[in-house]
């Protein structure tokens, strides 16, 4: 069989093991819903609504366009904060991994950034820059940047100097060296930072909205909390988690698979 056809066959066929894993994931989800249903039946009060009640609430909120509106606002903040955190974190991480002096200079800042509670950053950003979207996004990005730096710095330290020597020996341009020799070695680290970043950022965005915004899922959760509306809280949480999981499953994972397909 020609190598092209063989490679294609290997990437398109689904092995029995991965089919079994898929069934296990589905079974795990069903067990979770079942346990929730049982818990709701046993508790029998409004602090733990049934899955069906939550689904019905999601439907109502979608029909009234309240949920899509708040979701869109929150997603917008997530996207901007995520992009800013990844860009700044990746650049600083590469610099710290590449130059020892840069690492020595910024290391103390990094330790500080990793250990300041998210809540403190959010409060300070609102106090210093006002209760506006940019302060909210800045607070989220500041919370995420240190973790991106740590991951990318490890990647930059692990870059194989022998491959960079090949680029130097053949006089490749800086651009080609960066894009085709250096950056591909960082891809696994960038993807790890992106995936962990997404899960962290959307949680922080909700806190930021809860504390100082007048729209978004976090703001709505606060409203529901004031009225002790647990069904509303779970409906918005589930809807937003579903969107984030979809982004993870349909964008980040396929992108990672595509970029690391050479690993076989």
């Amino acid at each position: 069989m020609p190598s092209n056809a063989r490679n294609q066959a290997q990437t398109t066929s689904v092995s029995p093991a991965s089919r079994r894993d898929r069934w296990l994931r589905l079974a795990s989800l069903l067990v979770f819903v079942l346990v929730w249903q049982l818990g709701a039946l046993i508790a029998d009060n409004h602090t733990l609504p049934t899955p069906a009640a939550v689904l019905a609430r999601i439907w109502d909120e979608v029909a009234s366009m309240a949920l899509p509106g708040h979701l869109a606002v929150t997603l917008g903040r997530v996207v901007v904060a995520f992009t800013a955190a990844m860009l700044i974190g990746a650049l600083v991480g590469m610099a710290m991994g590449r130059w020892r002096q840069c690492d020595a200079f910024f290391d103390a800042w990094l330790v500080l950034g990793l250990n300041i509670p998210a809540l403190v950053t959010i409060i300070l950003c609102y106090v210093w820059f006002g209760l506006n979207d940019w302060a909210a996004i800045l607070a989220v990005a500041i919370n995420k940047i240190p973790t991106v730096i740590v991951t990318v710095r490890e990647g930059a330290r692990a870059v194989d100097p022998k491959l960079l020597d090949v680029a130097r020996a053949y006089r490749l341009s800086r651009r080609t060296t960066f894009l085709r020799v250096y950056l591909p070695q960082l891809v696994p680290y960038l993807m790890a930072a992106a995936r962990s970043g997404l899960s962290l950022i959307w949680k922080i965005v909700l806190v930021v909205e809860l504390l100082g915004r007048s729209d978004g899922v976090g703001f709505q959760l606060n409203v529901f909390f004031q009225f002790f509306d647990i069904t509303g809280i779970l409906a918005y949480t589930l809807a937003f988690a579903a969107v984030v999981l979809t982004v993870e499953a349909w964008m980040l994972r396929p992108l990672e698979r595509r970029l690391t397909r050479w690993r076989g």
Binding site: P2, S3, N4, N7, K162, L163, D165, V166, R168, A169, Y170, R171, L172, T176, R180, V181, P184, V187, T260, W262, R263, G264
Partner: protein, 264 residues
């Protein structure tokens, strides 16, 4: 074609003290000549190639390429050093130079033809991780020749391969060298390999290395390290210069004649 004059090359040893690797080393390679450099382990053979290839500029002395551009140098390292995320063809194309964008198709054709000549036509789209050690060396050899270099630097490129594979690679190397007429500076610790490949063999002393003997090889081609003539020539050389590969520097800078040594 190539004139090397290295007065001093120092680098810090494990204790941080300056270690003199090369001292008073003079070496020249004529246009189209195949020169092998042989010396004891750790004497500075790879350092010499790194200096000529522009990977190490921290030395006193000069390297004169006689009008050739640094871009006209091909480099084959001890390990294949292929980019694992690029296909076989893309690894070769990564370093291939096109005079202008319209020449890109011609460059691609040249790369494919070269890979076919290396018996790699079936794996053009495969990733290096799927190849055997011998196949990866062939890709590295194709990469070294793709720009039809004026000077080819080779740092023990066939080390740790089994004998038939290494012999086949040597045949391919000689074929390509004779086709494109490049000057070759080939570093090895294997005297038989040097005698099988070279027009001239230069022997280095132990560190600080300098050339202590040059020997013109006048055996007819094709030759292999295992052939009787090469064996006899090696024995004759070592009988005449017993300290040659023992790590002890020889007095003077002798120039031996192939026939005279071979029949000694």
């Amino acid at each position: 074609m190539l004139e090397i004059q290295i007065d001093h090359k120092r680098y810090p040893d494990r204790g941080g003290r300056p270690h003199l690797a090369l001292s008073g080393l003079r070496l020249s390679v004529r246009q189209g000549e195949f020169v092998c450099v042989v010396g004891p382990s750790g004497c500075g053979k790879s350092t010499l190639l790194n200096i000529v290839g522009g990977l190490d500029r921290d030395m006193s002395g000069r390297v004169d390429l006689d009008g050739a551009f640094p871009e006209d140098i091909g480099f084959m390292f001890q390990e294949p050093r292929l980019m694992p995320w690029l296909s076989v063809l893309d690894n070769v194309l990564l370093v291939a130079r096109a005079a202008d964008p319209r020449a890109a198709a011609a460059v691609r054709e040249r790369a494919v033809a070269l890979l076919r000549a290396m018996e790699l036509g079936d794996v053009l789209d495969a990733y290096p991780g799927r190849l055997s050690g011998g196949m990866m060396r062939r890709v590295a050899l194709a990469r070294a020749f793709v720009n039809e270099p004026q000077l080819l630097l080779m740092d023990e490129p066939f080390v740790s391969l089994d004998t038939p594979t290494a012999n086949r690679l040597r045949e391919m190397l000689v074929e390509q060298w004779q086709r494109c007429g490049a000057s070759v500076l080939f570093v090895t610790h294997d005297l038989r390999e040097a005698l099988a490949l070279a027009d001239r063999v230069c022997f280095l002393s132990s560190a600080p290395a300098r050339v202590v003997l040059e020997h013109e090889v006048e055996l007819p081609r094709p030759r292999q390290p295992g052939c009787a003539e090469v064996g006899r020539l090696q024995e004759a050389l070592l009988a005449r210069h017993p300290d040659l590969l023992g790590g002890l520097p020889l007095a003077g800078h002798a120039r031996a004649n192939c026939e005279g040594d071979a029949h000694a």
